[in-house]
């Protein structure tokens, strides 16, 4: 056992300092798709997207719904003058509408981001997190688990995993909500004490991704329950989920003050 302890101590600090210091993604990381030129687009551009995330209205205005984007890159390859991969981790949003980019740009999301560091510094409470899988592909679970590994160590920010939903403040939901998981999801949310927040993790959970609302799946968590924070990505990287948790806890404290 002593040997294990020595082995553990032997390593220098590897834990990220995020959110106090930025954590740059690796070069060429596919964190999100950016719209470079939203005007005067041909209507056929919408057809390249296998999940229908791209729309072109009758004025030729191009929009990309990140909540539906699985980051496959078909648009980037077929129209590199209009779309590009952005290597950002911070993709989560408090509203579904803000994930639709192109017509507004990312400035208002940046505003949310800037207040984030200050809020996290003031975080003194312990937040208990519960996860429920409603039909993910399994990769989102890996990325959530990774938050508690030594590289991310989200416990340093006061987040703990809990096994019982009755102790939980935050519910992380993955997957488009399959029919057999609808009831367990509703019940899990019901027994959680107030104040509470729900985070949809991954494109499948945000708006169904590949899965339309066809009776086999609900096509997104917000078809079943109200979602507080959306984290798009297929799957979102651990830092993206961490960013979302920090967003969600801002919400939690606001509600507590109101109560």
């Amino acid at each position: 056992m002593l040997e294990w302890i020595l082995r553990g101590l032997h390593k220098r600090r590897i834990t990220t300092r995020y959110p106090r210091a930025p954590e740059p993604p690796p070069v060429g990381f596919h964190g999100r798709v950016d719209v470079l030129r939203p005007t005067a687009a041909a209507p056929q551009l919408a057809d390249v997207c296998p999940t229908g995330a791209i729309t072109v209205d009758d004025k030729g205005e191009l929009r990309l719904d990140r909540a539906r984007c699985i980051l496959c890159g078909e648009c980037v390859r077929s129209a590199p003058d209009r779309f590009a991969f952005g290597s950002s981790y911070e993709t989560a949003s408090r509203s579904r509408e803000r994930l639709v980019v192109g017509h507004l740009g990312d400035e208002h999301i940046d505003a949310v981001r800037q207040t984030l560091g200050a809020r996290a510094a003031g975080l003194r409470k312990s937040i208990h997190v519960r996860h429920i899988d409603c039909g993910s592909d399994g990769s989102e679970e890996w990325e959530i688990q990774a938050l508690w590994n030594p590289y991310y160590d989200i416990q340093r920010l006061g987040f703990f995993l809990t096994n019982s939903p009755r102790h939980a403040d935050l519910l992380l939901v993955t997957g488009p909500v399959t029919e057999p998981m609808r009831k367990p999801l509703e019940r899990t949310w019901q027994v959680m004490p107030e104040p509470k927040a729900l985070v949809a993790v991954g494109t499948d959970a945000c708006a169904g991704g590949l899965h339309p609302p066809d009776g086999i799946t609900a096509g997104g968590v917000d078809q079943v329950l109200a979602v507080d924070v959306y984290v798009p990505g297929s799957p979102p990287a651990p830092i993206a989920i961490m960013h979302a948790l920090l967003l969600a806890t801002g919400l939690l404290t606001a509600e507590e003050v109101a109560a």
Binding site: I132, G175, A237
Partner: protein, 496 residues
């Protein structure tokens, strides 16, 4: 490598089964029987020592009930017409050959559609609240564990019947996550459909993408360029390492060996980061496609080589410590024992089968892609317990590192194309396969006029879970987590 498959013997097989041989790609013997002779033919194949991989219905109009077997380094596809007016055989093969049971039930429930008999419990539409009681006795009760599990795990339910300590009966209930992903392939071109394949079981994205691509390439008679095959092998071996490290970290967590857990999580995260640096995605998505790969890695090969060296060095130390920690190994040795006969009866694959003395590995049995050149050493242990399953994974980690390094050397020395075009408006159907980290994965793809039609996926997890029900011969309830992690399966691929 494999011996040359004895063609004569397989021809004889067709005769003995009274089946017509139909043309198919190499290593894929397609036999067709009359519907009333289908069951007899399956029985003969069972006696000939074939391992059943899956059973499914091909698409209309020529709807065929097809059973896939692995026999002497070949696939045998046995088909019989199953149109609505020639119903499926009522005798269930699963009643005497458990390998087939789940695939067969799934097929029957799908064929019956909403007309399934009311009140009967459907495998593919599980109800979390329904409890099963099969064991009677004083104080025996049923624990429904899942689908909302403790910790961050995928949804699946285990109905554990126990008197408190012993587990006389365990029943795994998959299909809570069935999201109908096989239907999502339909109507897409192969290069777009591969994105769907990557999302069937996310933790084995590369294996699924390469098996799907393999099937498309076989159906259209295309061979990907050598350099692309090398890249695929590298991505798949990195993925195998990440999955095996994940299993070992979870075992360490279950024994409360927290430093060990942290160490293996660090190694896993390093593999994930290496993959992100190479491909732009932490799961290696978006690089493999039918016909080859999309491009060279983002970082240089020297950097990959250095990362592999560093990983191997760290892994060697952590492995020595892990295997020398008695509090860890004592929990694993003898736990979750499954003997070889049981493994064969259930047609289990992957590290689970290899830990019970069965040398089965798709990379070796039917070498695909670069693996006939790379020469995979199949890691086999005979003990059949949780420790053996972990030892197999440690062995395969070393083997994956060796293969990866060999592939990096090949890539350094070899220039060339990365992608060949598929014939436009290609039509055909074929099986493709890969050895996923969880075991042998098989994908059936039908293409018509350059567009994907029916796709069937036979995931290793589904087959291995049938065996998991029998992995508690002398174990108690508290051993559950160890045994489950030692199997290292993923519900996403099983449920689809």
């Amino acid at each position: 490598m494999n011996g040359i498959p004895p063609i004569e013997a397989l021809d004889e097989l067709a005769q003995r089964l009274d089946a017509k041989v139909q043309p198919g790609p190499v290593r894929e013997l397609r036999l067709r029987t009359e519907p009333d002779q289908f069951l007899g033919a399956v029985r003969q194949l069972h006696e000939a020592g074939a391992r059943c991989v899956t059973m499914f219905l091909t698409a209309a109009p020529d709807q065929t009930q097809t059973a896939v077997f692995a026999l002497r380094g070949q696939l045998v596809l046995l088909g019989a017409t199953a149109t609505p007016d020639t119903p499926l055989p009522a005798d269930l093969i699963g009643s005497w050959w458990p390998t087939v049971a789940w695939a067969e039930r799934e097929l029957h429930e799908r064929a019956a559609g909403p007309a399934a008999p009311p009140g009967e419990r459907l495998l593919t539409q599980p109800d979390a609240d329904r409890l099963d009681r099969n064991v009677s006795g004083l104080d025996v009760f049923t624990i429904p564990y899942g689908p909302v599990r403790s910790g961050v795990f995928e949804a699946i339910q285990f109905q554990i019947e126990t008197g408190g300590e012993d587990v006389p009966r365990l029943q795994t209930r998959p299909f809570f996550k069935r999201r109908g992903i096989e239907a999502r392939f339909t109507g897409l071109t192969p290069d777009v459909a591969v994105h769907v394949a990557e999302r069937v079981a996310g933790i084995a994205s590369c294996a699924y993408a390469s098996a799907f691509s393999h099937a498309v390439e076989r159906a259209l008679g295309v061979t990907p360029p050598a350099r692309a095959r090398s890249w695929r092998a590298l991505y798949c071996e990195l993925e195998r390492m990440a999955c095996h490290l994940d299993v070992i970290a979870k075992e360490a967590e279950t024994t409360a060996l927290y430093v060990g857990q942290a160490r293996f999580q660090i190694l896993k995260e390093r593999v994930q980061r290496l993959r992100a640096r190479l491909t732009g995605n932490r799961f290696g998505r978006g690089v493999i496609l039918p016909g080859g790969v999309r491009g060279d890695g983002i970082i240089g090969l020297d950097e990959v080589h250095d990362a592999l060296d560093e990983l191997e060095d760290e892994l060697a130390r952590d492995r020595r410590l892990f295997l020398g920690t008695a509090s860890m190994t004592d929990r694993l040795i003898g736990g979750g024992y499954v003997d070889r006969a049981l493994v064969e009866r259930y047609g289990a694959v992957g590290p689970v089968a290899r830990a019970s003395g069965l040398s089965t590995d798709a990379r070796h049995e039917r070498p695909y892609g670069d693996y006939d050149r790379l020469g995979v050493r199949v890691v086999v242990h005979r003990e059949g317990d949780a420790m053996a399953r972990i030892n197999v994974r440690f062995g395969e980690l070393s083997e994956s590192l060796r293969i990866s390094r060999q592939v990096v050397d090949h890539l350094r020395r070899r220039d060339g194309d990365l992608l060949v075009g598929l014939p436009p408006h290609g039509t055909g159907a074929a099986c493709g396969w890969a050895e996923a980290p969880q075991g042998e994965l098989l994908v059936w793809v039908e293409l018509a006029d350059g567009v994907v039609g029916r796709v069937h996926i036979a995931s290793p997890s589904l087959r291995n879970w049938a065996l998991f029900d029998h992995a508690f011969p002398r174990d108690v309830l508290t051993d559950f987590a160890f045994i489950e992690h030692s199997f290292g399966l993923t519900p996403a691929g099983a449920d689809r």
